[in-house]
């Protein structure tokens, strides 16, 4: 991602939707956004971490999210990001993926092939990029891979069969079995997403502080 020439300038950032505006324009899943906002698994320690990140002189100040209301990963994770912003004082702005292809293009995943959402991008007060989180935590990707392998074995399909390659006459059974395996894991995915965002942010802040310290020492 060409961060020095990002299309997300401070002016563009300010044009993004607030969380309230995002909810107001959403035509689906209002109940799910409300549920996941009310039941977000953020702990007091998580909230203290993000508050401390914002309190640093050169710390976190802005959060950008790329989202669409129909997406399950978005309605499971964006309410938590909103809670983080509300509690820490970071400014959250949300951009709809389909209306902002140039922003999405800066945050493609899967070696540039996927427009996975949500994308959550963290910035400093002067709008310098810190880090970003995409779609879901690593443990969730592993769970999906494990579940696909298990369902493939259960249905006696060729090894390596995936969601998109399961034979169409068995795909309904494949997807139903897959969902049954991953649904109990969703709360863990939510927790892992928070942990991953914390870890990414802690590393980014530490790295830049070390660089600043090196400049001072030099």
């Amino acid at each position: 991602m060409p961060r020095d020439t990002s299309v997300v300038t401070p002016e563009r950032f300010a044009e993004g939707l607030t969380y309230a505006e995002f909810l107001a324009q959403a035509t689906v899943n209002a109940d799910k956004f409300e549920h996941y906002h009310r039941t977000s698994p953020l702990t007091a320690d998580d909230l203290a971490f993000f508050a401390e990140a914002v309190a640093r002189p050169d710390g976190l100040a802005k959060i950008m999210a790329i989202a669409e209301a129909w997406c399950g990963d978005v309605y499971r994770e964006l309410p938590t990001v909103a809670r983080i912003a509300e509690a820490s004082g970071a400014e959250l702005r949300i951009f709809l993926r389909e209306q902002n292809p140039d922003i999405m293009d800066e945050f493609l995943s899967n070696e540039g092939q996927s427009r996975a959402i949500p994308v959550v991008v963290f910035y400093r007060r002067d709008h310098r990029y810190l880090t970003h989180f995409t779609e879901r935590a690593a443990v969730a990707h592993q769970d999906l891979a494990d579940a696909q392998a298990a369902v493939t074995a259960d249905l006696q399909l060729p090894a390596g069969t995936k969601l998109g390659t399961a034979p169409q006459d068995q795909r309904q059974a494949f997807i139903a079995a897959l969902i049954a395996r991953i649904e109990p894991r969703l709360p863990e995915w939510q927790r892992a997403a928070i942990q991953e965002m914390r870890s990414l942010l802690a590393t980014a802040l530490k790295t830049t502080e070390a660089a600043a310290g090196a400049r001072v020492t030099a």
């Binding site: 035509t27 993926r97 309904q172």
Partner: protein, 76 residues
Amino acid sequence: MSVSLPVVYTIRGCDACVKLLDKWQAEGMAFEERRVETSQVLMDEARRYGAMVPIVVWPDGRVEQGFEGHISCFII
């Protein structure tokens, strides 16, 4: 549900949905598209048939999800 045309549940911007619709349009096939992101009624209707768009409900009642390995979108 009684239908005479295949019904396809889609989402704007879904890669697999675009590919499926392109193919059907190139073949001159008649179908009814229902965009699930446009209303909760359509979203709930689609979820009765599956978890991943595109979802095709054929006139004989068969249901198919996804399209030829292209990147689909979960709606749950």
